[in-house]
Symmetry: C3
Subunit: 399 residues, 3 copies
């Protein structure tokens, strides 16, 4: 009996060797890609932005991934809401502009009109039996953590509350609530989204591939993380950064898709933040009394990652566009009252992760090219790639 | 057991909810698209042109859709014939130029030579057992209605005769036989052909989407069609347009694929044709004594549509190029003896359906984008979209 | 029960009519294409270059086809070796530059380092149980015939030795060992690789399609091959070209994929080589005492073809890039001590097969367009296309 591509996928999941990379099929099958969107992306929390982007009533922006589009809007009651950007009539995109201020959403095809809360207002020529109450925009779940907005298209989104409750006191001094977007950039990579995410999940490649990052960040060498860790802890105490770590990932996750990770590691002596010369890039965030010279790896859910310096936050997501097309999207945040030119220089602020992302585009592309070989056999993962099996575990649990 | 894409399609057909739009699968599956070509397009009548384009012996032109190509030619006996543009040897395109005058068709690969009637002339080095009579170009059925040429690749083309016989007296005064092509244009749309066709089939979207059309055409509002219908009938009588309507579509169709539809509706006061200022665009067609200020929606088969004004005819077809690539092809016809510059201005003539097609490109594109969502659920159709279920009925009966 | 595309392929193989072309499915199915790569290309010998390209230790070049990439390198022991260009860790391309000189191969992702012979040197952070001996680059088989390098990704490559042993004395006087590359060119064709190869395999199309070739080469007409064959044999004897022919193809092949073919045919009077004016293009190859005015069709395996004139050799391969994208790659060789400008003019040398390949690009493209029709029915092959069924036989025996 012929096996379809999803059956091949399930057989490979059963045969998956612990501590090894995934087989080719996961990165080359169109059916697997579509399943990734419908069962993994549509059922996980996705970081889409920050409350400052929907500060006033009617402010909205779109977030697109794969064939999906989500409207994020502040409604008339002041709530941040999210809706599927698909008309309930014949499926047109309802909202076309990437961001703006709206009084309501009028479908450009047949003018079905939806309130900011998604409710359908009328149904022109729909007959007397038509009940507009049945045809509001499909709601998308929203979770806001200290100003960061996450959405999930599924009704039964992974339960994040318990994990975020434990995270809250650790990130509190950084005052994420009052960040502002300093810059956004997108790096298109001709590779499957999982290869882009796996690249982010490990620093085994940092030393050979990222010279600039490795000059300042100890994570490229576990021994050096230890070596400079004590001094970092001392400075963390001085400036007001909590010392705790949190690892609710892999086997420790409270539920599938509800991973949270927070761990701060030292920059090398001479670097107080992720800058080229080691000097500060912006005023300390939130309540911090200064620069501690640390960087926190923060993960929320399985798709959303942040690097938290003392003076800025960099957010990362790996947005699928097609089977082998992915956008690495990066957002740089500084404290909300910082002014460009006076308090920070945008080019200096974004330098490190701009050059590092150009490196990554290259190595992820070469990774996909090799994985495409019919003769590729996945090899063993190193000790420094420990978080990749955690991702696989999550991925397998939901697809 | 895995289901292939066509089985998924058949299950969806069984579950299709009356009066609702079609599910995503019909617009996103490559297998469904290929089936559309092989079972629907290849078995339906397609309007390809007008006899004036093959006026003399040897005149030919090509019509292409999906992966198919048809040669339409006037042969030595004076008959309009159509052949599959595929060599019977190893399958090369036989005819490469889009139009011209030929004495015969010589395959550019191995020089197999076919007469204008499709007969293979010789078979160089084919051995003594070879019978050229077995290897003529595959014939394509031809139906000519008052000068309009239709082709069908299937041997058992839908029987159009009876329906066309009933149509003939209604269109006769417009003298389609003596039309000439004033202009042709193609509007590429990144959407499945069915979304482009469905867009044409309903005027529910006219008011919100087509400001220019809606300024002059009452079809955008059924109440106004009624309001101005009486006066139109009076003028139709005066200029010589028959008053009858004909609706052999949907359940009234005489056979699957044999739909014919003819219904004239009023333009708004001040408009005698589909012009920007309401003034005539060209001399009245055929035997008409003047401009009645009406517009006839004419459909022949399930794929071919025309809008018949008193002074010009606009033909529309929605030609598949790929799963989500379609060309909206439009041809403007005026009476055969009209001269550009003297009797009509091409820019004025084509203005309305040029701007309207630009609108349509945009809304059909947004429709496809939304339909691509894994979460799209087809909604209920309005009363003004009554002809879409008729199309679905036809479509389901043949795929 | 639904049939998958490979099952459809197998059914078509069972139903294949002897002496007829292949059905559409073999040229339009993505599954068939992927199977072509994994079961035919990866298990056949592919001509990739000449030993002069890896003259010194560490010299390497890449050969890519479909999603595959092979490194060909001269190792420290002086052996020509080939490796799969895929890291044994997570599958990155190991070697990025198309050619160069290397001391070792360092994967650009995580710096796994391989010796020129493919052995993995170290395994940074791989734990104490890690055995680098298990993770060398996958070896690719290498066969060198008189300086021409062939590779095969399969462990059980077709046994070529016996056939090449019989070929050796026939080609020996041309001294392939000491050729040098005069020029390389690639002609992209939007067609399946099999259509490009089939085009090369027959000269039925030469007369109608290749005017320049047909002006000088008798192969376009079997009768003329005979007519001028006697005089050619006489001149072959004079300049030192062996008179024997060798046809180990089709039913005569010693093993599937082990075909060898060598047959010399006359140019027309006035032509001593494949030049525009008939005059010599370069000094006679190897031990030849002059120009005999012949051209040898040489085939080695099922994928590699050469045309051997008295003063240069032209090599051809038809490299798959995607289902309907193929590169016709051509290499012109002259004797190793010939100097451009003094001994040969590159434009004159490459003229014939440049213009002929432009012809071929066009006719193969039109062939694919027609074969894409759902209504294409494969026709009978002519007597001059006798070698195409031989290719099908080989193809069917391995897929």
């Amino acid at each position: 009996m012929p096996k379809d591509d999803l059956q091949v996928m399930r057989d490979l999941m059963d045969a998956q060797r612990k501590g090894f990379a995934l087989p080719r099929h996961f990165y080359t099958s169109q059916a697997v890609y579509e399943n990734d969107i419908s069962t993994f992306w549509n059922r996980n929390w996705i970081w889409v932005g920050h409350v400052s982007q929907v500060a006033e009533l009617g402010d909205y922006f779109l977030f697109d991934y794969g064939p999906e589009s989500i409207i994020i809007v502040r409604d008339r009651e002041g709530e941040v809401r999210a809706h599927l950007n698909v008309c309930r009539h014949r499926g047109s995109r309802v909202c076309i502009e990437q961001k703006g201020k709206a009084r309501n959403f009028i479908c450009p095809y047949h003018a079905w009109t939806f309130d900011l809360n998604g409710k359908l207002r009328n149904g022109r020529s729909m007959g007397s039996d038509f009940d507009p109450g049945q045809y509001g925009l499909f709601p998308v779940q929203v979770q806001i953590f200290q100003g960061l907005i996450f959405v999930c298209a599924a009704e039964d989104a992974p339960p994040l509350d318990a994990a975020l409750e434990r995270l809250a006191p650790l990130s509190k001094p950084f005052d994420f609530e009052n960040l502002k977007v300093a810059h956004e950039a997108s790096y298109p990579v001709p590779a499957n989204w999982k290869l882009a995410l796996e690249n982010y999940l490990e620093c085994y490649h940092c030393a050979p591939s990222h010279q600039d990052y490795s000059r300042s960040h100890s994570l490229k060498d576990p021994a050096q993380v230890l070596e400079f860790g004590g001094a970092l802890h001392e400075r963390m105490g001085e400036v007001g950064v909590p010392l705790e770590e949190l690892d609710l990932t892999g086997e420790n996750a409270l539920a599938p898709g509800a991973d949270v990770y927070w761990r701060r590691y030292p920059l090398f002596p001479g670097y107080v933040t992720g800058s080229k010369d080691g000097a500060p890039l912006a005023p300390p965030l939130g309540e911090l009394k200064g620069h501690d010279g640390g960087a926190t790896d923060l993960g929320i859910g399985t798709l959303n990652y942040f690097l938290v310096y003392a003076d800025h936050v960099v957010g990362y997501r790996f947005v699928p566009r097609a089977l082998q097309e992915t956008d690495i999207q990066i957002v740089w945040y500084v404290r909300g009252d910082a002014q460009e030119g006076r308090d920070y220089d945008k080019d200096a602020l974004t330098w490190l992760w701009h050059v590092t992302s150009l490196d990554d585009e290259r190595i992820i592309r070469h990774n996909q090219e090799g994985v495409n070989s019919h003769q590729f056999v996945p090899g063993p993962l190193s000790e420094m790639e420990w978080s990749i099996p955690g991702f696989y575990r999550n991925y397998f649990s939901m697809i």
